[in-house]
């Protein structure tokens, strides 16, 4: 290619790079600053970044820091997530991380789906001539129940294992984290009952009150789901219980994808059949699809990665 002497190919390859460029800023092509490379590296899995991040930074700098180099780094982040190098695998850490993420996104997806299904059904939004919309509601109900059941049964041994350990080692904070999935819903439902009694009129709560209660519900779900995730991070469990939970999360996420698809079908059906009814307009319903799709994607991708790690760990065991 170029006919210049290669200063980057030394006898001692670890300690010599190219000569530093001294041209004025205006004489140089547009160069990416290191922070852009850091942003591109932030797109990579943490284990990949920890292993190769510094080297990539140096290579981009040595290559002149051109934007196309940074773009190539950013572009390769996706395959690094989809096919992470095997030698960087900490399968137990992968399962724990995936479980925590999948639990959080699953709770958000379940909340979004439940709010949509309850709200539209209670307000009598139907789509005459479109039976697939009512089927979609039924499919959603069944899929969500199966998904919760599978995740609950599969995660129960791990939860009990961590609970026993937290009690045995008197880890009060971890004990609190682990009890959040029980305490969160109880506190929320109790708060809901008290609010309904104090503030609810014959017509129920006001729209603003409903929005507040719905947001509080999402917050309760997020806190309840975050508890076990934090406990997983602190207690670092390993072994068959973790593998079972990760596998169950994978199955649960697959069923959750069915529930999310059902919600998407219902939203699409209502948009086609129920324009401008009960204060809804099609764009509002379509916008609802965005968080549903985002939560479903995160749930499925995280759970799939955890389940894959569980399968690999089982094969190695």
């Amino acid at each position: 290619m170029s006919g210049t002497v290669d200063p980057g190919r030394p006898r001692d390859p670890g300690h010599q790079g190219p000569p530093r460029r001294r041209a004025s800023l205006l004489a140089r092509p547009f160069l990416a600053r290191p922070f852009l490379t850091r942003i591109a590296l932030a797109l990579y899995p943490p284990s990949w970044r920890a292993r190769y991040g510094d080297e990539v930074l140096m290579l981009v700098e040595d290559s002149g820091g051109r934007l196309r180099e940074v773009a190539s780094v950013a572009w390769r982040a996706l395959p690094a997530w989809l096919c992470p190098p095997r030698h960087l695998h900490d399968r137990s850490a992968r399962m724990r991380s995936s479980l925590g993420t999948a639990l959080l996104s699953w709770s958000m997806l379940a909340g979004l789906g439940l709010v949509f299904a309850q709200l539209t059904q209670l307000q009598g939004l139907t789509a005459p001539g479109h039976p697939e919309v009512s089927w979609a509601y039924a499919v959603f109900d069944v899929a969500l129940a199966v998904s919760a059941l599978v995740a609950g049964l599969g995660g129960l041994p791990l939860w009990l294992l961590m609970l026993r350990r937290a009690r045995r080692e008197q880890r009060t904070r971890d004990l609190a984290y682990l009890l959040l999935p029980v305490a969160g819903p109880v506190v929320y439902v109790a708060g809901l009952a008290v609010t309904a009694r104090l503030a609810g009129g014959p017509q129920g709560v006001s729209p603003a009150g409903f929005a507040g209660l719905a947001l509080a519900g999402f917050a309760a779900a997020a806190i309840s789901a975050a508890g076990p995730g934090l406990a997983l991070r602190r207690l670092r469990p390993r072994g068959p219980a973790l593998r079972l939970a990760a596998t169950a999360a994978g199955v649960s996420a697959a069923v959750t994808a069915v529930a999310a698809t059902a919600i998407a079908v219902a939203i699409t059906g209502l948009c086609l059949a129920q324009r401008h009814v009960a204060g809804y307009v099609s764009p509002v319903l379509v916008i609802y699809l965005v968080p549903v799709a985002a939560a479903a994607t995160v749930t499925v991708v995280s759970a799939a990665r955890g389940a894959r790690a569980a399968r690999a760990a089982r094969a190695e065991a």
Binding site: S2, P13, E55, S63, E69, S72
Partner: protein
């Protein structure tokens, strides 16, 4: 068709070939591949390849105080490179011979 022709410039093979004589760090590999093989490897592609080759045990990192960590080819990597080189050599030989018969190509 173009994709198939690009297989000749398969980045893992280029990196293995570059490391065949001595250990090199990332920048040295890109420079060597560009100068000796005429192929430019971007930073993202190079480290995707390095990660894959390291995972398969075909190259290994060397200790370095610098952030420019050098890599060297392993015995398994050398074996893979030798096999691939042999295969490519056979294909090239057949291609040259047939071109010579068909076109009287002087380069054969």
């Amino acid at each position: 068709m173009t994709d198939r022709l690009d297989r000749w410039a398969d980045p893992p093979l280029l990196v293995l070939a570059s490391l065949a004589d001595e250990p090199k760090h990332g920048y040295a590999i890109t420079q060597d591949v560009a100068e000796t093989m005429g192929v430019r490897i971007s930073a993202g592609t190079l480290y995707a390849v390095i990660a894959r080759l390291e995972a398969r045990g075909l190259i290994e990192p060397l200790e370095s105080d610098d952030r420019r960590r050098p890599y060297r080819i392993t015995a398994a990597g050398a074996e893979v490179l030798a096999q691939e080189s042999e295969r490519m050599s056979k294909v090239a030989s057949v291609a040259r011979e047939r071109l010579r018969i068909r076109l009287g190509w002087a380069g054969a």
